[in-house]
Symmetry: C2
Subunit: 194 residues, 2 copies
């Protein structure tokens, strides 16, 4: 997840102050089109500015005959500098959720993967985000992490630094992964994260 200050700002998203079309001040009020929510509306050109949830896309890169090891990245940027995460970041325009997950895995871990399928879909309502994690088979155990990552390493379940994970959605996804690994069948899991 990229850009320290930028990422923090996007998580807490301050109110819009000016119109992106003309630069005049906005005020928050109900639009005239039947909408039932207050929106930032330009006081000069009347453009309505919407604010919507963001998607975070990533992978569970696995290695070993049964997939008993997963790749984690130690964060080199805020937020959660020094904590461990699955490779993930904000979905960009011009890509699908799957392509975004693949791209983030390249950028953060420099890992070669083949994506299997969507594994978890997690709503994080409090911060206005939806997180998507795909299971992805590593085709090499050599990694070349980018500047956002201090270290990229494989972990078995009992080696995972459970107390030093960066995000609740990473913990949830890893728990589901190892549960499913034990049961011998990988499902698709949807849940809400408080």
């Amino acid at each position: 997840m990229k850009g320290s200050g930028a990422t923090l700002k996007r998580m807490y998203r301050p109110a819009i102050k000016h119109c992106r079309e003309c630069g005049a001040h906005v005020s928050y009020r109900l639009p005239d089109d039947g909408d039932t929510k207050n929106r930032a509306i330009c006081t000069q050109c009347h453009t309505v500015h919407y604010e919507n949830p963001l998607n975070v896309v990533g992978t569970v890169p696995y290695w070993g005959e049964r997939g008993e090891q997963v790749l984690l990245c130690k964060r080199n940027i805020e937020p959660r500098l020094g904590k461990w995460t699955l490779p993930a970041g904000f979905m960009e325009l011009g890509e699908s959720t799957e392509h975004g997950a693949w791209r983030e895995t390249q950028e953060e871990a420099g890992a070669e993967i083949e994506i299997d399928g969507l594994f978890t879909l997690l709503n994080v309502v409090r911060v206005g985000q939806v997180h998507f994690f795909y299971r992805a088979r590593l085709t090499s155990d050599r990694f070349s992490p980018g500047y956002e990552t201090q270290e990229a390493r494989l972990f078995t379940e009992d080696q995972i630094p459970w107390d030093d994970l960066a995000f609740k959605t990473v913990r949830e996804t890893l728990e589901r992964y190892f549960d499913d690994l034990r049961s011998g069948k990988f499902g698709f899991h949807v849940s809400d994260i408080g």
Copy 2:
């Protein structure tokens, strides 16, 4: 999907011209934080403005012993005025994908539902959107559609107005629904829509 002009604007999303923080002009360039994509950056206060895909959330409301009828809404707003759609709209801050799907079904169809589970996840890369449709059991066959809908009606597969559907993702979702209904087993379907 709400707000005629507003919806069209969000689909094609014109470039950002002014900073939402201070109102000064922005220029598109690479940020200094290692980012690899051009972003709208304020020429005065240097705030970086990101643009990301939007989520559209909706339902397949079904009725009948086997779920052989589905509820469609005839659109009373642009885009695709007069065309038929499943109830769906932009996900809002403060709600989960499932809650958003439920809300849109209330707003567009005034239908009482119980949501089963996520049925399709469709990337529409060209317009920067991800569409989510949940299967939802109707608990009544009386509807009171809102101002966005001219008419809300139940259709069996052979009654569906296939040539007058509003969106490709609606067609894809309905095709998957009736395929799964015939096979006797509802899956979860992920695909990209061109």
